[in-house]
Subunit: 108 residues, 2 copies
């Protein structure tokens, strides 16, 4: 569950803006603020089952976006490449220190 | 027109997979293969006006995706940062040569 939460939060960071406002709200309540299904259902005046289905569907949308656009996969690739570059810069600490912030900017 | 074509082609490279197959087809015919509206209309058995509207709408979708996700803007930023990094590596040509392909991979 924790691993799934981390993954959905990451996907949400990248693709949340493509979801509807309602989908954004329930995902934020559930994954970010750690509300229970019942708490969200009470807050939204709907059923626990409807919230469950809504979270599931929104999560599927996020996964579909990643399958099509691969932003998270590319982010992870950049992170790995940055580590390689920084390791190759280790022989020159002052150059490494100068370039590290720029390389970090390229990951994000 | 040429500038708009280049911009739409770039947006299409990033977000084309989010469009419907039909939208992908007309954008490819129009912007990539340089067909006229009438040629596309004949090929699809529809009107020139319908093709025109379809191209316009698909283009708007691409712009909306960019406004929400900013993949093209971030790609351009990475390209600029890469240039800065390569310029700072100029003092050490062999290191620059070694790191250039990795930095290029981070742009894409």
């Amino acid at each position: 569950m924790l691993e799934q939460t981390t993954e959905i939060n990451l996907l949400y960071d990248f693709y949340g803006s493509l979801l509807t406002e309602k989908q954004q709200l329930i995902l934020e309540c559930y994954y970010h603020d750690d509300w229970s299904l019942s708490e969200i259902a009470n807050h939204q005046g709907t059923s626990r089952q409807a919230v469950f289905e809504g979270i599931k569907r929104a999560g599927q949308h996020l996964i579909e976006y990643e399958n099509k656009l691969g932003m998270v996969a590319k982010y992870r690739e950049r992170d790995q490449i940055a580590k390689k570059i920084l390791s190759k810069l280790s022989a020159d600490p002052s150059l490494k220190e100068e370039l590290a912030p720029l390389i970090q900017q390229m990951i994000d």
